[in-house]
């Protein structure tokens, strides 16, 4: 075989191996969730971010998985994603509409609200008929009561916020059946919580991962597989940009 033929063969073989590796990597990683960009919606150092938890994800190919949704600031619709971008050094006012039912925390320590303003969350409950009076809550005991459905936690920033759940058997058996659930709290009969809290984004830009600490991946080992380990469901990234 001539030298040019050898070189061509070597290059083709090398490229084939590289292509194979890339195909495997991208096939495993898969498409990443889209990022809800709140950068342009920050005013005077404050930005509002709204999320939702749902007991299923009927709009995905995993309809039985629990999931977070994030409101698109441009359209006002809830998109199936867990990635959002906010400015650095900015107060983020988060509202989470919690439509899922309760599940005990694997470690009760995550029942403590931490890393946010006053180490407390503002909680209202919609029982299907009326909204409760808002109250400040600092700790949930998910082992003693049906009180927590998920958490929103950014471990590297010390942030942990339990998402309260409907607290009766009847309410837990009447959860919303399609996702995203109706966005406007006043327009739905499905029981859910409305929690609000604030925290300040760090000055260091970058991607900060957030996750749920409730083992809500039913049917998976320790409840931590499936939606708990898949971007776009129960884990995501807060991208802090300059």
């Amino acid at each position: 075989m001539s030298l040019p033929a050898r070189v061509v063969t070597l290059v083709v073989a090398f490229l084939a191996v590289v292509a194979g590796v890339l195909w495997v990597v991208f096939d495993i990683v898969g498409p990443q969730p889209t990022t809800e960009n709140y950068m342009a919606y920050a005013k005077n150092g404050v930005v509002d971010v709204t999320m939702m938890t749902t007991p299923q994800t009927t709009i995905s190919n995993r309809p039985d998985w629990v999931s977070y949704f994030i409101k698109n600031p441009a359209t006002g619709q809830f998109d199936h994603t867990t990635y959002f971008a906010v400015p650095a050094n900015t107060t983020v006012n988060v509202t989470i509409l919690g439509y899922d039912g309760c599940t005990p925390l694997r470690n009760p320590v995550w029942g403590k609200v931490a890393g946010v303003a006053n180490d407390a969350e503002n909680l209202q409950m919609w029982n299907g008929k009326s909204m409760s009076t808002a109250q400040e809550v600092t700790t949930f005991d998910s082992w003693a009561d049906c009180s927590v459905q998920h958490t929103f936690a950014i471990p590297s920033l010390g942030i942990n916020v339990p998402v309260a759940s409907p607290d009766t058997v009847d309410e837990n058996n009447a959860l919303c059946a399609a996702s995203p659930c109706t966005a406007d709290a006043a327009d739905t009969n499905s029981p859910h919580s409305v929690i609000k809290f604030s925290f300040k984004t760090p000055s260091t830009t970058g991607a900060y991962h957030w996750q749920c600490f409730v083992p809500c991946g039913g049917g998976y080992v320790d409840g931590n597989g499936g939606p708990m380990a898949t971007p776009g469901y129960m884990m995501g990234q807060m991208e802090v940009e300059a």
């Binding site: 039985d64 009760p108 590297s156 039913g218 998976y220 080992v221 931590n224 884990m235």
Partner: protein, 324 residues
């Protein structure tokens, strides 16, 4: 006759090369060992932030000092052979036949055996001396040299004959730390007093993690249902990194903390402040134990009515048409 006449210069050349190689090897080894011992050694990981880390750094330095002459010898011989013993252009003759050399073989075997066996003895002693050298020793630690007993699990004061207990709990994907001698509070912050022996009780609530307080020289697997004990005595105030050293899932790479070593008085103040701050969550934690089983919990009335009697993760009602 011709062969005999040519043999003398070859032997003389070998002797000269051997003397030169030996001289060069000794000189270069001494220089390299001085550089390793005085320049590289103090910068070898994991540093000297604890007695155990310092012991590890010393061990690495000793190993490097022993290995350096070997490396120098191999590279020198290799380079010498390439430079001076290579086939000359136009030389088609065979090299001199080899018939073995008992002296060289015996020297090599005895020398390497002596090095390996002495290192085995040295390594064993070094594992015993600094209480396991920071390694996880399982639930019944063997190497406790220099560590006081756990005289009390409900109180602790600096410089008492009572070792500080810190429970390290791994979970996907964060570390939490429990201090049983201060009311059993659990926090995401790892804070230690300087100069005080610490007993880490390492466990997990789900999969296998590995608690790696790198600069403290501590590394212990966190296994569910198992208490893995490791010891350390921090020697300097400041910060240190904690990482998970066992691939434990998608956010394994984010499972890190920054710990802090502070003075005794600052540590005591921190424990009191944290105990007060976390009082409301401490009272809902399970009683302090060396391991925990989240698959069985004393669930409340509504939880039980919903079939939620554990935090094991399998909560879907069998009648649920959307079972995973």
């Amino acid at each position: 006759m011709a062969a005999d006449a040519s043999a003398a210069p070859v032997v003389a050349g070998r002797s000269r090369d051997a003397r030169l190689l030996l001289t060069l090897w000794i000189v270069l080894s001494v220089i390299a060992d001085l550089l390793v011992g005085l320049v590289l050694g103090p910068h070898l990981p994991p540093g000297r932030a604890s007695d155990q880390a310092a012991s590890q750094q010393t061990d690495f330095t000793v190993l490097a000092l022993l290995a350096t002459p070997v490396v120098v010898g191999v590279l020198l011989y290799f380079g010498w052979a390439l430079a001076f013993w290579r086939q000359q252009p136009g030389d088609e003759t065979d090299a001199a036949p080899l018939h073995g050399n008992l002296r060289v073989q015996a020297t090599w075997i005895i020398g390497t055996a002596a090095i390996v066996l002495s290192l085995a003895v040295y390594g064993t002693v070094e594992l015993i001396a600094p209480a396991g050298a920071g390694a996880g020793q399982g639930p019944q630690p063997v190497f406790k040299n220099g560590m006081p007993a756990a005289a009390s699990l409900t109180s602790w004061t600096p410089n008492s004959n009572n070792i500080l207990q810190v429970q390290v709990i791994g979970q996907q994907w964060a570390w939490t730390y429990r201090y049983p001698q201060f009311g059993g509070f659990e926090t995401t912050q790892l804070v230690l007093p300087v100069g005080q022996p610490v007993q880490f009780n390492v466990t997990s609530l789900d999969v296998i993690h590995s608690f790696w307080a790198y600069t403290l020289g501590v590394k212990a697997d966190a296994n569910p249902g198992v208490n893995n004990v490791a010891y350390a005595t921090p020697t300097d105030t400041g910060y240190f990194q904690v990482r998970c050293a066992e691939l434990c899932g998608i956010w394994h790479g984010s499972m890190y903390d920054t710990g802090q070593v502070m003075t005794d008085s600052d540590f005591m103040a921190w424990t009191q402040a944290t105990k007060t701050k976390l009082a409301d969550v401490t009272k809902i934690l399970p009683p302090y134990a060396l391991t925990y089983d989240p698959t069985t919990i004393p669930a409340g009335k509504v939880n039980q009515a919903l079939g939620l009697t554990s935090a094991g993760g399998g909560y879907y009602n069998p009648a649920d048409p959307e079972q995973p």
